[in-house]
């Protein structure tokens, strides 16, 4: 198959340096358009939003709320159900505090999976410890997938209040059948939170189609800036929920002893919002839409397939996760015989190849697959097959040093 090149590398200033950036799973690079949008926000329209009567404040509010509307549409959500947080982690903690503390009690269960990121584990551990609930894990099979049968049998016990799972694994690349999981969870009376931190950047995602009651993602992995995350929720649930943090902007009226809450989404946005960050993320999703999310996904699939093919040639490399590119996203974890992942990454760095080594914030998964750490290459629109060739050349060097 001919390589599917998007030819957008020149849009990313950082890549003018001679590097193969293969760490988009940790954070993506940003196109010029995103930097320009934030810069001109600060140069031309900076003001605090919502309340100001003067021109700058009106411009800032329009840019900020305009970005929210486009971001909501991009992900298939309603504007007023699209909440800005600091990052995906805060979006998940918001649910654990504001929904979880009220609806999960002693004897209840929260069901997650062995392939979750710490951000979708620790908030539930803290919740379960506090309220006396039980945290359970769906296991990950040899080929890096979940079993719907196991899901059914846990749900059948009737104690699960929430299923929280990742849409795409940041370690194995696994693309989970979230709509199928949500249907089964709902049938068993449980709600569903989907961690879309790795999915929204690389797949066409429609949060309503996923069936999720809560869907969390993060700006900096989706070509946007740091400092912003997104939580989409279902209307009835968000309306019934108490707020998470208290402060400016999230209130309706403040009396000495009690307060009433603002309408959605503001009820969940306490204090000054990440305004420039929303503008930047708005430009990022405009950029992605310009390419077309189907093309983004096709390119990701192409690079992933090429990576799997090239690594398969090296019999001293072992790949983790599904081998079928239809069932996985653009992150490939692997091991090199005799070499620790840290050393692999260090030697790759000398070749200008940026990969990640470690537990990838997924220690339970590391234990499940029997390693302490993996090396991981992960991709985005700016990557090409040449980057993978450079990775393979670096790995040959790793093998030369550590093989035998």
């Amino acid at each position: 198959m001919a390589p599917l090149a998007l030819n957008v590398r020149a849009d990313f200033p950082v890549l003018a340096g001679d590097i193969a950036y293969l760490d988009s799973g940790a954070t993506s690079q940003k196109p010029e358009a995103v930097l320009a949008a934030m810069d001109s926000y600060y140069r031309e329209s900076n003001a605090n939003v919502h309340r100001g009567v003067y021109g700058l404040a009106r411009d800032a509010t329009e840019l900020f709320e305009g970005a929210r509307a486009r971001i909501a549409e991009f992900a298939g959500g309603d504007t007023d159900l699209t909440i800005f947080t600091r990052n995906a982690t805060e979006a998940i903690n918001l649910v654990a505090y504001a929904w979880g503390r009220e609806h999960v009690g002693a004897g209840d269960e929260v069901l997650i999976t062995e392939m979750e990121h710490h951000s979708n584990i620790v908030p539930w551990q803290m919740l379960c410890q506090e309220v006396g609930a039980k945290l359970r894990y769906l296991s990950v099979s040899e080929d890096g997938t979940l079993s719907l049968d196991e899901l059914d049998s846990v749900l059948a016990e009737g104690r699960v209040k929430l299923v929280a799972l990742t849409h795409v694994s940041n370690v194995l690349g696994t693309l989970n059948p979230v709509a199928e999981v949500a249907a089964r969870a709902h049938a068993a009376g449980a709600l569903v939170l989907v961690d879309g931190a790795q999915a929204v950047p690389q797949l066409p995602v429609d949060v309503v189609e996923t069936g999720a009651d809560f869907y969390a993602w993060t700006g900096h992995k989706a070509l946007g800036p740091t400092g912003i995350g997104v939580l989409h929720g279902r209307r009835e649930i968000l309306e019934a929920m108490r707020p998470f943090m208290g402060g400016g902007d999230m209130i309706g009226r403040v009396d000495f002893d009690t307060s009433t809450w603002n309408e959605l989404p503001f009820k969940f946005e306490a204090g000054t919002s990440p305004i420039a960050e929303a503008v930047g993320l708005g430009a990022a999703i405009d950029y992605l839409r310009g390419i077309g999310m189907d093309n983004v996904r096709a390119h990701e699939r192409d690079i992933t397939a090429y990576t799997l093919d090239r690594l398969a040639e090296l019999d001293w490399v072992k790949v983790f996760g599904p081998l079928d590119v239809e069932r996985r996203g653009g992150a490939v974890s692997f091991a090199v015989e005799g070499a620790h992942p840290h050393d692999i990454a260090e030697i790759c760095d000398r070749h200008g190849v940026c990969i990640r080594a470690g537990h990838h914030c997924a220690q339970p998964l590391m234990r499940a697959i029997g390693v302490n750490a993996t090396a991981r290459a992960s991709f985005h629109v700016y990557n090409s097959r040449e980057d993978i060739d450079r990775l393979v050349a670096a790995l040959e060097d790793v093998h030369a040093i550590f093989g035998s």
């Binding site: 309340r51 100001g52 009567v53 009106r58 509010t61 329009e62 209130i251 009226r253 309408e263």
Partner: protein, 130 residues
């Protein structure tokens, strides 16, 4: 002349019609604008299914007070069941001035309160996308 603070707006602001309280009354509602803290309440006397009389009370800016005053003259005599169907545009047209997005809630607080009193619906009147 100022495009927003036209004479009739200032006139209604400085000498609002139908402001005060009505006791006894048949319907009442009270609400506020979360952006600025302004408050507006209404008392309504109903007769023959119509708004026989009403009084607004509370404090607010020229736009919100003038809007309540101007609207009050139209509302008296209106069938109660028509009030819930009044749109944001109805208010904007009555005012006859260009309302920027930041000031819309000022202009609409009176309609919100009237709707609340007559239908119990506490939501903000929707503004047609412009």
């Amino acid at each position: 002349m100022d495009e927003l603070y036209r004479d009739y707006i200032l006139d209604h602001y400085k000498e609002p019609r139908n402001f005060g309280e009505l006791d006894p009354h048949d319907l009442e509602w009270h609400d506020h604008n979360p952006l600025c803290g302004d408050e507006l309440g209404v008392h309504i006397v109903v007769a023959d299914g119509k708004v026989a009389d009403l009084r607004f009370h509370g404090t607010g800016c020229a736009i919100s007070q003038a809007a309540a005053s101007i609207a009050s003259e139209e509302l008296i005599g209106m069938p109660v069941e028509e009030v819930g169907g009044l749109s944001a545009d109805w208010v904007f047209e009555l005012l006859g001035i260009d309302i920027s997005p930041t000031r819309r809630k000022c202009a609409l607080l009176n309609l919100k309160v009237m709707r609340g009193a007559t239908t119990g619906d506490a939501s903000w009147p929707e503004v047609a996308a412009s």
